[in-house]
Symmetry: C2
Subunit: 250 residues, 2 copies
Amino acid sequence: MTEVKETAAGVDRPLTPRQRARTQTIADIVRLGRQHLATHGAAALSLRAVARDLGVVSSAVYRYVESRDELLTLLLIDAFGELGDEVDTAVGQAPEGDHRARFLALGRAVREWALREPASYALLFGSPVPGYNAPAERTTGPGTRVIVSLVGILDAASRAGQLSVPADGSHQLPPTLAADLAAIRSEFGLDLPEELVARGVLVWSSLFGAVSFEVFNQYGPDTFRVPAELFDHHLAVLAGIAGLRAHASR
Amino acid sequence: MTEVKETAAGVDRPLTPRQRARTQTIADIVRLGRQHLATHGAAALSLRAVARDLGVVSSAVYRYVESRDELLTLLLIDAFGELGDEVDTAVGQAPEGDHRARFLALGRAVREWALREPASYALLFGSPVPGYNAPAERTTGPGTRVIVSLVGILDAASRAGQLSVPADGSHQLPPTLAADLAAIRSEFGLDLPEELVARGVLVWSSLFGAVSFEVFNQYGPDTFRVPAELFDHHLAVLAGIAGLRAHASR
DNA sequence: GCTAAGTCAAGAGCAGCGCTCTCTTTTGTT
DNA sequence: AACAAAAGAGAGCGCTGCTCTTGACTTAGC
């Protein structure tokens, strides 16, 4: 392995020890950053504190991380990735044909991750950190995994003929909105009718609304003794909104 | 009016000039705080900056406001009050018997206020400010006005016999949740059946989920060209969820 | 009218922050 | 062994929230 560096101008020589050490240090910084995020919140995230925990003087971390904002970006990507992984795993464990179960698994996975990592959740879905603008080219990819997964579930259900546009629901779509929804349909090659794409977006935002209320403590402290029950009820109703009927024949 | 101070040991002598000046200064501090909140965000709210704008040395503001957290509390109460007022006004302008219109007015009022005052909205419904705990005894009152208004609308509709529990929706409620919902029913003397109280809570959190997604820019920048259309569509679906049928005879 | 109590602004100071610059040490490579 | 690149150390700038002391001023009671 050591000799391979002879591939002189080769495209991918396998990392010098320096590069290895550097990568490891950055990973340590992100790990410590996550700890601080969890214990003190995003606004209190301090490069100096991370440096202390790293056993290094404050200015040294600037060799690895350009700025506090850069660290926030790394944490953002890290968190999006973790959420996406957990959602994918949960959805993958549900039976392939049971689209309603897959939707419920997605929702529960989001909630459980959010409750386990409230600081990371707040970073992703709470108030934007003032003065910080996430670089879209690095964050939109990881940031869209949940909605892509959700739309994928609905589309699969639609193709399987198991999605019914609710009876009450044939609201007339205004033209601009219809065009925007049509653009989404074609961009993702969806089978879903536009009305159900719109409902998918509603379900998406409602899901995160419910999670946010719970994570951010908008319900009183003692109003709901078993919040998971309330959340499951919400999920069941939302599944209906999206057109996923309660355990159909299959 | 000026002589009235003669009511010596009376319960409410009409404010000494000192008290008047003090009240005015506190109001000024809140006003400047709101400006800073709007321009720089909650985390960057700085008493020193407020002091500068007030034309006073930094330590002087501590005579009026106990701490930065105290100022946050004042801003919180101020914002809750403003949101509550706007919602009440909007709901009040809709025809008394048209419960669906009242609901739509409530939702639009929330959205419009949130888009107009994104920083205040973030303070109320975004990530909790780390290290800050809102004093419940001062904030729960103003903080519950929207949900109280929403539940009031649904209850009025229910009493008028215009609320129908949706056909698809008779989900069995687990016992603890049912008990919690029953407690809410009796606390507010509601006519609403428990299933519809639960749906009211869902609609509540969904409403704020939709507003948060828009205010916090979770949709891409160009996904929906007329967000109001999407929001109105969401509101229409949510009205259905809550049991408010589309413009029934009334 | 004068004195005592209460009120308030100012300034210095502490510890923490992000970030930059310069200088020294370490480390991998030749 | 010699050298250049990388990394750490330290000082320093301007900012933050907050505390404490000092001095000026306003109000209230005798």
